[in-house]
């Protein structure tokens, strides 16, 4: 991969994000608009300069060998597991969802002992749940499916 490629991608994404903010500016009253407008303009200018510099550098840049693909093969599935964990939180409730996530994560990361896996999943979830709900008075999601099952 060429060294300047990530900078090109990041500046294009950033310009897209700034454009999405800029289109909202006309709806904001004058008094609340000036400060963000200045910031958006400066950020856009800096992104354009970074983009142009990176594009100009792209041809002369050396290709650097990285293990990005190998690392992404581990990280992306783990991210998807976190996404599933968050999506299921309101459905399964904190306890069931967290036990499942911990088990899945430890299996994925190849923890050897199965007994340790189950013990960690159950103990960690219960301890966190009790500390947060009983002592810190945080109401954790109970789970719509659990509610339906109880009813």
């Amino acid at each position: 991969m060429k060294k300047s490629l990530p900078d090109i991608i990041i500046s294009i994404v950033l310009l897209g994000f700034l454009a999405s903010l800029a289109v909202q500016l006309p709806d904001i009253p004058d008094i609340s608009r000036t400060y963000p407008t200045v910031l958006i303009a400066v950020a856009a200018l800096m992104s354009v300069i970074l983009l142009v510099k990176s594009v100009l550098r792209y041809k002369t840049d050396e290709t650097v060998e990285t293990n990005v693909i190998g690392q992404m093969k581990i990280i992306v599935p783990f991210c998807l597991m976190i996404v599933a964990y968050l999506l299921l939180m309101n459905w399964l409730g904190y306890i069931v969802d967290t036990v499942l996530f911990i088990l899945a994560s430890l299996i994925y990361l190849r923890l050897k002992s199965k007994v340790a896996m189950v013990a960690i999943a159950v103990i960690m979830t219960v301890v966190i749940y009790l500390v947060f709900t009983q002592y810190l008075i945080v109401v954790m999601p109970f789970g719509r499916l659990i509610n339906v099952a109880i009813l």
Binding site: P29, S32, Q71, L111, I120
Partner: protein, 504 residues
Amino acid sequence: MNEILMGLTAVMTPYNLFICVAGLFIGVLFGALPGFSATMAVAIFVPFTYSMEPGSALLLLSGLYCGGVYGGSIPAVLLGIPGTPASAPTALEGNALVRKGQAGKALHLVTLASVFGGFVSALCLLVGSGLLAQVAMMVGQPEQMFITIFGLSVVIMLSEDNLYKGVMVAIVSLILACFGQDPIEGFPRFTYGFSALISGLNVTSVLIGLFSLPEVFKMLEDPFGKIAESGKVGSMKMKLSELKASLYNAIRSTLIGVGVGIVPAAGPDIAAFMAYNQAKKASKHPEQFGQGADEGIVAAESGNNGATGGSLIPLLTLGIPGSAPAALFLSAMILHGVRPGPTLFTEHAETVYTMIIGFAVINLLMYFVGMIYCKAGSMILKIPKAILATSIVVLAVVGTYSTNRNMFDVWVMFGAGVIGYIMIRNDFPIAPIALALLLGSNMEKAWSVTKTLYEGELYMIFTRPLTVALALFTVVSFAFPLYKMYRKHKNKTKAAKAADTEVK
């Protein structure tokens, strides 16, 4: 003097000493848990003080506050995850030391610097309340504006290796700080139709994601390796010469902390960054910052703990709560019939001196409580990465959820974590995000109010002596690191030319 002795006698009763230690133990735990903070600890325990004597109640809250500010540094060092925003600079240096197998040294340094900062701030509270209150009275919106701009100059030092990208990150983060209601009219901006964004992005969620998930992803790059290179905690012993070398840095950082603490709306987080910045500027080895510099840890920790005492000065002397914890102290004091203000030191001498002396004693006790936590916490380094990575994700999720009890913040935390990882991989510094998000709303408010107050005659702000002083500091703060970088670049070019000539 009599009042001081009276306060000391009250603090030294077994019951009050127990209250101080209990407050510290709980406070450190709150600080160490991602998503929890010193403010939250004080808030939760205010109702518990109803049945207590006023002095004991304030001692409990002081223990929670000091312990909470200190506690954030333990996960910052061991895992690179700051328990509170005030520990973000500590995470940069402390975690680098952990990777070198010097976790013990880093934890001891954090504890000593915190104790020093907190103790000196208590002395300032005792001795200098009157004088410092006068300074606090002079701080208006124009001064606040320059203080925030001065704070942003830290970005230059934080991104010395990649200044352009660092400034760019800071500006984009200032835009993110504009999300939600504007500080003057309350008009909701950039909400993308999400009602959860009306109150803006939750800074704590962003910081938890930014500092925790990238560490998890870095662990996954080599899931079977060890956290510290040596796999060991390392010795906690420190040489007297090392302590002596840090003394001047600790005094300077503590004074910065106290100064920042008395400014309304500034607190331990801003103090930590400012002290860290000044330490880097003054250091003979600024290149070691980011690689595990002792000076960075000492500065950040004495700075943020220095702000604890400072933040109570305007409250006790003027009755003005300048920060969220100070506002909670105010509510607890009113609850117990103690009204802060100019008459406090005469009408409620025993209570207020019990609190101030207790503040100093609590900071000394913090050393022992802190070392117990550090020894227990350092076991973390022996845990396999698979378990640690999983635990961090679970704690980050529950910690973020608990701040506002909604899943939207958890998604923000996850997004911030992924973006943070991409940034780190591509040489975009992440520390300026923390600073810009913390200062952003203050800066916009101060700017807007100043503009309204001095409509058409903005130059009139320079008739205020403190504004002029702060403006000069700000200019120097931006110019000095740039000049230093220019000199460094020039020397490098000279050296390269000389080497070329020699070869020829």
